[in-house]
């Protein structure tokens, strides 16, 4: 197990280094002067060539790329993500305020998606070929295909505009008003949970179907165990192992989806921030947010791999 852990850690580290290199160089090699990273559009137009040169020197953009890269990385380790142009404050301060909001939205969605998705998948596998299975199959196909921004608009229309049951948009911190916070988050959390729920339902269904065909399940049945015992004690334990590996993908869906959901519901989290940054070419934010999201996914995948290796010894030795 120790070798397995070390090997996984080194692999994750290498991937993180490649990610940081990709983010750094893609932003700098694409058309456009990297001085945009540090200057507002107005400044770019009014400053003279000499002043721009001076600014270039001030920000260290006349140094070799490699040196710049290491300065960027060491800045991150000191909590310095650079300054935003659009918001005229440091990216670090912006992220500190916005990450909790995205977590407030994303964690409930992640839990709902994982629990309900797995339950739905197991249930359809057990009732395979029955009406319930077909209905769930159609719903999960719809869940994967639905554009979640459109689903958000639909829900706002029905529950906000027509039925007046729930607030249509906005965000209130749970420390300020918990009831309002929950009311405002119901619709966005539902939208965000749909895609991971649907994809987990399908994956756990096929994973369970693999397991119920195994010999030891037949043995369990032939011992005269009740369905409950066969499912809980034998099938679930093994059937859910591959489902664990999908946690990273669920996280990926949720972080990607938050970009849309936060925009539709006017929630000032990290997703809405990235859209703003992309539209206003606020490179310092784009760099920081993409690096942060990719790092989160790598870390979760690492944890998933380690759990998987711990649950299923065959993985460790392959």
């Amino acid at each position: 197990m120790a070798t397995y852990i070390v090997r996984r850690l080194i692999l994750a580290l290498i991937v993180l280094i490649i990610i940081s290199l990709m983010i750094f160089f893609v932003i700098r090699l694409l058309p456009g002067d990297p001085i945009y990273l540090y200057m507002s559009r107005q400044e770019q137009q009014t400053l003279t060539l000499e002043q721009i040169q001076a600014a270039r020197h001030e920000f260290g953009l006349d140094k070799p790329m490699v040196v710049q890269y290491f300065e960027w990385i060491s800045g991150i380790f000191h909590g310095n993500f650079g300054d935003s142009l659009f918001y005229s404050e440091s990216v670090g301060a912006l992220l500190k305020r916005r990450i909790p909001i995205t977590l407030n939205l994303g964690i409930p969605a992640f839990i709902i998606g994982s629990v309900l998705g797995t339950a739905a998948g197991v249930l359809s596998a057990l009732r395979r070929g029955k009406a319930l299975d077909s209905v769930m199959a159609i719903f999960s196909y719809m869940g994967i295909a639905v554009p979640i921004f459109w689903l958000g608009i639909l829900l706002i229309y029905v529950f906000g505009l027509k039925l007046h049951l729930l607030p249509m948009f906005g965000y209130t911190s749970p420390t300020v008003d918990l009831v309002q916070n929950i009311k405002q988050l119901i619709l966005p959390v539902v939208c965000l949970a749909v895609t991971p729920l649907a994809s987990l339902a399908r994956q756990s269904r096929s994973s369970m179907l693999e397991v119920v065909r195994q010999d030891y399940i037949r043995t369990a049945w032939s011992k005269g165990l009740r369905e409950r015992e066969v499912v809980m004690r034998h099938a679930l334990k093994n059937g859910l192992i591959p489902v664990v590996t999908l946690m990273g993908i669920s996280l990926s869906y949720i972080l990607g989806g938050s970009v849309f959901i936060e925009t539709v519901f006017s929630i000032p989290g990290m997703g809405a921030l990235s859209v703003q940054a992309l539209l206003s070419k606020d490179y310092a934010i784009i760099q920081a947010v993409t690096l942060l999201i990719a790092t989160m996914i790598v870390v979760v995948n690492l944890l998933v791999d380690l759990t998987y290796g711990w649950l299923d010894p065959r993985i460790r030795y392959s």
Binding site: I14, I138, P147, L161, G256, V259, F260, V275, T290
Partner: protein, 296 residues
């Protein structure tokens, strides 16, 4: 001579039987048939858009702005008096174009990266696959968004951005396929007959690794269309006035109280098309994958 032609015939017959079997499995499932019908309709609408659209999708008519659905305008009109149905019909063109070309780019790039990594192994494998791992750490939609925004939006850049964002899955699938396929006897046989790396890769490995790739392509067509809709919804994708479903949903959202159909109709079109590609892709996978044969 007779013997040789028999062998060729035998090959042709099995291939024919194989595709007939796949069709039979797929046509046996109602949902898959429905999906195939929708996809066919989608393609026809996209190709013959100018013939099918009742109005010019770009013609503004300020006398008929914000019309509710009526006999003249089946799905109403938008804020500029443009016919919504005609814009949806033309939007199908954008979706189909982006879907096919971006998935094509992703498949070609991914197949070659996976093939080279899997075939040569060692350092080549490590470098390519770690790069793919890094790409996979970004949520696909976020990667497409960032690339499209950095490249500057517009049809061409959206296609390139989505194409790159989808590449990693093909590379990973192809690589794992090649890793097992290259151990087969036909590869050893080809090599002992003097075939070089290029010939083995192109003539033997690619055709043998293709079936699961074809399934992935079908599924990814839906994903690409969904991604394009998302990009256009956020204003980073297809630029107005070009008709794109995602941008139409966003436009309609502004007038949700007055004419909700403006936002609902294009969204429904996106869902229906993506739904169909997923169902047909899954049907194809079940028909091709021998492990699931006879069980579905």
């Amino acid at each position: 001579m007779t013997q040789e032609s028999n062998i060729i015939n035998l090959g042709a017959t099995t291939r024919f039987n194989e595709s007939r079997r796949i069709m039979k499995v797929m046509l046996g499932r109602k949902l898959v048939v429905l999906g195939m019908v929708v996809i066919l309709a989608f393609i026809i609408v996209a190709i013959f858009a100018p013939l099918l659209a009742p109005y010019d999708p770009y013609a503004q008519d300020l006398n008929v702005v914000h019309q509710q659905p009526s006999a003249a305008h089946w799905l109403g009109t938008d804020a500029l008096g443009r016919d919504t149905l005609s814009r949806i019909i033309f939007g199908a063109r954008t979706s189909l174009l982006v879907g096919v070309v971006s998935v094509g780019i992703a498949a070609i790039l991914g197949i070659w990266m996976g093939l080279i990594a899997g075939y040569f192994g060692g350092w080549t494998y490590n470098i390519i696959m770690r790069f793919i791992d890094a790409l996979m750490a970004f949520p696909m939609i976020l990667l497409a968004l960032v690339l499209a925004a950095l490249l500057g939006g517009g049809l061409k850049n959206v296609i390139v951005a989505i194409g790159i964002a989808l590449t990693s899955l093909y590379a990973r699938l192809m690589c794992s396929q090649v890793l097992s396929a290259k151990e087969n006897d036909y590869v050893t046989a080809a090599r002992s007959l003097g075939a070089g790396n290029w010939r083995i890769m192109v003539r033997h490995l690619i055709p043998n690794c293709l079936p699961p790739i074809i399934v992935l392509i079908t599924l990814q067509l839906g994903t690409a269309i969904l991604a394009e809709a998302g990009l256009s919804f956020l204003g980073i994708g297809i630029q107005p006035p070009q008709a794109a479903w995602g941008a139409m949903v966003s436009d309609g959202y502004k007038y949700i109280l007055m004419t909700p159909v403006l936002s609902f109709a294009p969204g429904l079109a996106i869902m229906l098309v993506v739904f169909s590609f997923n169902i047909v892709g899954d049907g194809l996978r079940d028909a091709l994958d021998p492990r699931l044969r006879g069980t579905l």
